[in-house]
């Protein structure tokens, strides 16, 4: 049967029409591709508008079209739109092809002749391909109403609470002994200077006691299988050596434990904890964990002081790591960020010059619950600084390190200036390249810090040195900088330097992303489905990202994203079932040689080896139709619906204009 094909070429305003002679392309298709079955070719200003869609629907009905090609933007954007239009008109949606003449033509060319010629080739390829398309049916699967939230920072807590409050169950998995994330380390939060613990603790407690939340701290996800609606997750619950049923959180064990350890995580290396510890007083849950690497008993075989003194016999040295399997329908990743390692900027001397501190160290210094009880002092533990320099953009906006702005550190630098001023009366300098105080009430905070007399120097600090050139510099840290507004190099001696280190992706973000089947940007942040219109979803259905895991942001934005993802998850749960794209690969049992090459390549773990039959098999529910295995199979045993060899070859022929009849 010869197909009846309709071709629709979009102007996209001037987006396409600016570089492509759209009318010419349509006329060309009508004439030159007639022999392939093109019965109508139209151009229109905006094909995605309702009028544009109606045009297609009308043609399908009136001209009896059996195939449709829309030459417009990328399928990413509007494939769904046009497929729905076809469906409304009674045509199987998979008989519609998009030819991308915007992203692949008009946006990458400036010459109209070339643009027009290339558009013709792209349209020709799509026409040849669409002839080979098969009508497909969507797959329906039920949604498991449980949700997994990974990471118990403020973003993850927000997501978990929203979903739990709506009446659905949440597994909240946190790697550290307590939830709370970075926010639990801060003293005050900008721009309003609320006490961080005061606003965070109620949320932590609510999450810890909520009947719909299963809190798994000191735990990590180790495996994820399945697909939207039906994920099977394995969680490793690390041995705490404390029986959670018996422990009352009295804290006697930590008091009695003789082994002191530098706390690299919560105290940012500035303070100490014991071998058995809860990281901070308001920790949720409040029962301690024992750190096996440092515990005297585990190292030397004697001690057990904690066990001796525990009033409830909760200490259990025989505890083992546990693997827990849970089934969930959706996953929210809220794994947050790592602080940039300031030792890498060696000109600032962190790690070499004692009185250079990082931002997170300063948070601990200024925190009443911190190692100095909130006294802002030098590394000698007692001297109050008389002058303090706060350096912005450390490791951020710098091609030698991270080439992006970390968003929060200007405001954080201003917050520090205020705290130093208020608590010590010291002279404070802030060194900045650009002052980034966008968002509500942020610039007002900048005004306030200006008013307090903070000295601002516009210039990226060149170096911090102890090499004095004159008497007044001796014993000080000298900040050498160009005051770019004065056009002069300045050397400013101070007692203390605070580095506004940037935020960076978690060290394991690539592996974590891979485990959950999502990708990372070049920098390592998790990639959202659309940077503007779909910031919390990912390219993998049912997996969402919130908070700093998606990119640097402040607390309000992290919370907003946490709530937004929760709404998306609730929407999915309430729909009860989900339609899956029928674009799938399948293995021909006859030709598969059982080489297993495809098994490891599938990014979605959809291919399994069937020992009994000695061949590989694809789980259609897991397959996302990426095509990797199809191309890789040396026996040519794998083919994909929606991207069969016939379709691809036809498209190539079309692109090369081999389909044209030469008279």
């Amino acid at each position: 049967m010869t197909e009846r094909i309709g071709v629709y070429v979009c102007h996209c305003g001037t987006n396409i029409a600016g570089t492509v002679d759209v009318v010419d392309v349509a006329n060309w298709a009508a004439e030159k591709l007639k022999h392939q079955g093109v019965v109508i070719a139209r151009e229109y200003k905006f094909m995605c508008s309702s009028l544009g869609q109606e045009l297609i629907e009308k043609d399908i009905k009136e001209l009896g079209l059996t195939r449709v090609v829309v030459a417009a933007c990328s399928p990413h954007l509007h494939e769904k739109t046009f497929r729905t239009a076809a469906k409304n008109a009674g045509l199987n949606p998979y008989l519609v092809e998009l030819a991308s003449i915007r992203e692949q033509v008009s946006w990458v060319h400036s010459n109209k002749t070339i643009g027009t010629a290339k558009s013709k080739a792209v349209v020709s390829g799509a026409v040849s391909r669409v002839i080979e398309n098969a009508a497909l049916e969507e797959i329906k699967v039920p949604i498991n109403p449980n949700t997994l939230v990974v990471g118990g920072g403020i973003a993850g807590i927000q997501s978990a609470l929203e979903i739990a409050n709506a009446g659905f169950h949440v597994y909240l998995v946190e790697r550290e002994p307590s939830i709370g994330g970075h926010m639990s380390q801060f003293d005050k939060t900008f721009p309003t200077l609320d006490c961080s613990a005061c606003i965070l603790t109620p949320r932590m407690v609510e999450a810890g006691t909520h009947p719909n939340i299963t809190l798994l701290t000191w735990s990590e996800v180790t495996n994820v299988a399945g697909y939207v609606g039906n994920f099977h997750v394995t969680i490793k619950k690390k041995a705490r050596f404390v029986n959670e049923e018996l422990c009352t959180g009295c804290g006697i064990c930590q008091e009695k434990c003789p082994k002191k350890v530098i706390d690299d995580v919560y105290e940012a290396g500035l303070g100490y904890r014991k071998a058995v510890y809860t990281p901070f007083a308001q920790a949720v849950p409040n029962f301690p964990v024992m750190d096996k690497e440092n515990c005297t008993y585990f190292i030397k075989g004697t001690c057990k002081a904690c066990e001796k003194f525990c009033p409830t016999n909760a200490i259990d040295f025989t505890q083992q790591d546990q693997l827990i399997n849970v089934d969930v329908g959706n996953i929210i990743l809220a794994t947050g960020y790592d602080l940039f390692d300031a030792r890498r900027v060696s000109s600032y001397g962190y790690g070499r010059l004692p009185n250079v501190f990082t931002s997170i160290e300063f948070e601990r210094l200024s925190n009443a619950a911190g190692p100095t009880s909130g006294n802002i002092v030098l590394r000698d533990g007692k001297t109050t600084p008389k002058s303090v320099g706060i350096i912005h953009c450390v490791g951020s906006r710098d091609k030698n390190f991270n080439n992006y702005c970390s968003v929060i550190c200007c405001m954080q630098g201003l917050k520090f200036a205020h705290l130093v001023h208020e608590r010590t009366g010291a002279t404070v300098y802030n060194f900045y390249i650009d002052m980034r105080t966008a968002y509500k009430a942020y610039d007002e905070f900048y005004q306030r810090v200006l008013e307090e007399g903070t000295l601002f120097v516009r210039g990226k600090v060149a170096e911090v040195t102890k090499a004095a050139r004159k008497e007044s510099e001796k014993g000080k840290l000298i900040i050498q900088v160009e005051d770019t507004l004065a056009g002069k190099q300045r050397r400013i001696p101070v007692d203390m330097v605070i580095l506004s280190s940037g935020l960076q992706p978690r060290a394991d973000s690539k592996e974590v992303g891979k485990m959950f089947g999502i990708s990372c940007s070049m920098d390592g942040w998790f990639t959202e489905r659309h940077p503007k219109l779909d910031p919390v979803a990912t390219m993998t259905e049912g997996v969402f990202i919130v908070g700093c895991a998606q990119g640097p942001k402040d607390i309000p934005s992290s919370v907003a994203q946490g709530a937004a993802a929760a709404a998306r998850v609730l929407d999915k749960i309430l729909q009860k079932e989900v339609m899956l794209e029928p674009i799938k690969a399948s293995i021909n049992k006859e030709t598969c040689s059982g080489c297993r090459i495809c098994n490891g390549l599938c990014p979605f773990n959809a291919i399994a080896y069937i020992e009994d039959d000695k061949i590989s098999d694809i789980n259609p529910a897991l397959c996302q139709g990426c095509g990797t295995c199809v191309a890789a199979c040396p026996a040519g045993a794998i083919s994909g619906t929606g991207f069969s060899d016939a379709q691809i070859m036809a498209q190539i022929d079309g692109l090369l204009l081999r389909n044209l009849i030469t008279a």
Binding site: P354, R379, K382, A467, R469
Partner: protein
């Protein structure tokens, strides 16, 4: 036998004779074979680049082209002078980064019947070879007269660790290679914050007052830290700090006496060679008093770590080096 192609540079048989003499005395114990590039020419120092770009790079590249003819068994060119090292390494790098530069330079070389394909050679500095190829262990094993008691300031200078397009050094600002090497010789190495600051370069010739200030900063900080001497890896640094120290003192009304020797001279001493064979005494600011300290035993005392008291200091983070970072990346 470890073979390398040697690009000595103009100063090695004149102002930096001591460097050459001492280098010659350590190649044998370290089993190094340095084959001089035949008929090499001046690298242009920092002067030619400022006048005419293509001739400047052609001048440098002639040496690289000549070196490729002697490659037999090695592709490494060693330069003992930091400025020469930088010029050679930079030419090789820029000819790749900017292919039009590479093409023009080769057009010029062709006039002399030569050609150089950028990337063919590996240009390295002498101390790089000693620390990373020969290795600190091997060096330590040759030490017969440890330099304990000699308080030295390791001065790397600026052109060696920067711009470092080939990522050879542990750090751009505070590299530890020279410190480690001197420590392997047994010397008391002082943490010198100015280790990669500039010695003034050609400013001693064209803007002496600017240069004197740079020299003053270096020697005053070294004296402040009670150094017996500075140790350098570059003929230009040695020349500026040594030969212009008198004038600098005169200019500022100061009275510094800060000898500056080449690291190879100290290696020779530690290997038990005669000072006379190492060019010691050729320096204008005499190192006699400084070297008199050798042999005097200064026991190193290390205080035991005490438990933390209430107002005791806060712990320091561990030091970071680029090598550590690289290891992490590799994991």
């Amino acid at each position: 036998m470890n073979k390398y192609l040697l690009y000595p540079g103009c100063s090695m048989d004149s102002s930096a004779k001591a460097y050459m003499e001492s280098l010659n005395s350590i190649v044998e114990p370290l089993d190094l074979h340095l084959e001089e590039i035949e008929d090499w020419n001046c690298c242009g120092a920092t002067e030619y680049l400022g006048i005419n770009l293509i001739p400047a790079y052609s001048l440098i590249a002639r040496n690289l082209a000549l070196a490729t003819k002697q490659m037999n068994g090695t592709r490494t060119v060693v330069a003992p002078c930091s400025a020469c090292y930088l010029n050679l390494a930079k030419a090789d790098y820029y000819m790749q980064e900017r292919p039009t530069l590479g093409a023009k330079v080769n057009e010029a070389l062709a006039a002399g019947g030569l050609e150089y394909k950028a990337g063919t050679l590996d240009v390295r500095h002498l101390i790089d070879i000693l620390v990373y190829d020969v290795g600190l262990e091997a060096i330590r094993s040759k030490v017969v007269r440890p330099l304990s008691g000699l308080k030295v300031v390791p001065y790397m200078g600026c052109m060696l660790p920067r711009p470092d397009y080939q990522h050879r050094w542990s750090d751009h600002e505070h590299p530890t290679e020279l410190d480690d090497l001197l420590r392997a010789l047994g010397a008391d190495v002082i943490d010198y914050p100015l280790t990669t600051e500039c010695c003034g370069g050609h400013m001693t010739q064209i803007g002496p007052e600017s240069a004197f200030e740079l020299i003053r900063r270096l020697i005053s900080d070294a004296s402040e830290r009670s150094a017996h001497m500075m140790v350098t890896v570059c003929p230009m640094c040695q020349m500026n700090i040594d030969a212009y120290q008198n004038e600098t003192n005169h200019f500022f009304g100061t009275n510094y006496h800060m000898p500056v020797l080449f690291f190879t001279q100290l290696m020779g001493l530690a290997f038990g060679k005669e000072p006379g064979k190492l060019g010691i005494g050729l320096e204008l600011v005499s190192s006699r008093n400084a070297l008199a300290n050798l042999g005097i035993e200064v026991p190193v005392t290390q205080e035991p770590a005490a438990p933390r008291k209430k107002d005791e200091g806060l712990p320091m983070p561990r030091r970071w080096t680029k090598h550590e970072g690289r290891k992490e990346e590799m994991k």
